[in-house]
Symmetry: C2
Subunit: 345 residues, 2 copies
Amino acid sequence: MLEEKKPSKISLEDLGEFALIEQLTKSATTALPSTLHGIGDDAAVLKHEGEMVVSTDMLVEGVHFDLGYMPLKHLGYKAVVVNLSDIYAMGAQATQVLVSIAVSNRFTLEAVEELYSGIHLACKTYDVDLVGGDTTSSKQGIQLSLTVVGIAPKTGAIKRSGANEKDLLVVSGDLGAAYMGLQVLARENEVFKANPNHKPDLDPYTYLVERQLKPEARKDIVTLLEALEVTPTSMIDISDGLSSEILHLCKQSEVGCRLYEEKIPLDPQFIAVCEEFNLDSTTLALSGGEDYELLFTIKQEDFKKIKANPNLTVIGHMTSKSRGANLVTRGDEVIPLKAQGWKAF
Amino acid sequence: MLEEKKPSKISLEDLGEFALIEQLTKSATTALPSTLHGIGDDAAVLKHEGEMVVSTDMLVEGVHFDLGYMPLKHLGYKAVVVNLSDIYAMGAQATQVLVSIAVSNRFTLEAVEELYSGIHLACKTYDVDLVGGDTTSSKQGIQLSLTVVGIAPKTGAIKRSGANEKDLLVVSGDLGAAYMGLQVLARENEVFKANPNHKPDLDPYTYLVERQLKPEARKDIVTLLEALEVTPTSMIDISDGLSSEILHLCKQSEVGCRLYEEKIPLDPQFIAVCEEFNLDSTTLALSGGEDYELLFTIKQEDFKKIKANPNLTVIGHMTSKSRGANLVTRGDEVIPLKAQGWKAF
């Protein structure tokens, strides 16, 4: 669809870089008092009191996303969300975002505007100002690079390195669904390729597909923890899969961990579709990735503050480093955790 | 050379993403007091007093650089410099940089380390901390995205929009040489392709080639202006060519401009090689691009403070908007300036 060249579509080549930037950023109004000067200069000008956090991520077509099943608006939305997630993982509030995009000239202005409509929607949803970026051509496909700036809590940013022995390991939401959503979309795409008249019935998979195509970052959890007066001792977001992220916390905090298989929160739809696909739900929850949930540790004394909350699940506890990072299975076996992670190469 | 696969070279695929990041960032020590927490978490943690500036740029192989004549170390160095230039163009001091890189697996670890050695060298040269980034695979070639953070001067960041009628238009250094350096390298590359035994003699072109392969950002000019107690009313860096940047200042400041051809600073080597290539030096100086000099306006009363300085040249003055932005030629003709710019698409 993107490759169509109807006469009504405007090519990027005809438009030129400056006109494209003007077109894309005209709806980028800034709202936050910390944004002194947004798009349109050599740099944005910001003013933050206290500590600030900054993070950047790159998304490459064919590596991180497939336009065969990722609509451009969703891609724009997801690109922002993925980056915001890193900011919330520091216990911080995201405030500004910069978006750079490289596109090949097979894309029309309308296609790029569609992508930006998702970017603008995410900015609006999460109260973030779009304050800068870069626009250029690529040799092939789309590459996106986003940078997000945020304000750390007054008590300081929450790092990966603060977990202590006996701290409880907590996760928000449920795991594995985004990965399973990708499997569903990939299967439907294969069927569609074989039979273009095939009408996919995605009804039994709505939650999984939404987790893949329109993930949300857990800004609400940061707010919730503040309201509950719980300060995590360490935190990370789950982008590469639970195993991999637990190992990051363990390594940087110099502790070990016991993760209990039976505690890992799974959505009923995820469990059902794992059975349909004949896949092991625990394996997928451990290494599926793209959940964008928050994984954090809290002091034992804070357990009473979170135990009634349906958004939070205690899945294990930290141990001494020498005991290693392990999964305790439903059958009471103890298995060392492995980082499957996101295979970037 | 990069495509060679000697058994001693380590492939990125074998190494994996996490090990690659560790390898590349182990020499990234942070030195500035404003860097509270660098690489290794979901986000970097910074603390700046007052206004800060932030800017981002993307560099795509085949669009912004050609590895046929751009050594990887130079590419890394230039990628940082190009971004720093945007920060200095705000009258600010650059403090932190984040580097994202997407590379295809045709590159070896050694190749990526070479690129990073240039990045580290630029950070050291300009007193900037490398505090974050992202590393991923690409489908084709290298894409780089950099974000730079800086501290604005106490009097506030210098924008493109502050120029007034009668202000003087000033440029640092000389123009056109980087573009001409690219022409020289492209010609040598063609000769080399036709005859691999050809030994290029680049001696008559050293300045031009250096301006292309190892540009420097004008941090020194920001310091100089402070020392001279000159606060530009508007400023921009010259990345797309003098014409294009003058038009940005005029548009955003809502003024016109008279630029005098005879005043445009050109290096003797540039003039000589323009003659050799039978190219018009003024045209190239106006639209060559990649000079990374600073273009700014000052109040007339500040002229006495800068007039003796060999680094600064007054090339024109601002007028009312209705008079337009014009070049006054050596023959006293008045020609409207056009934005040739960087043809990104």
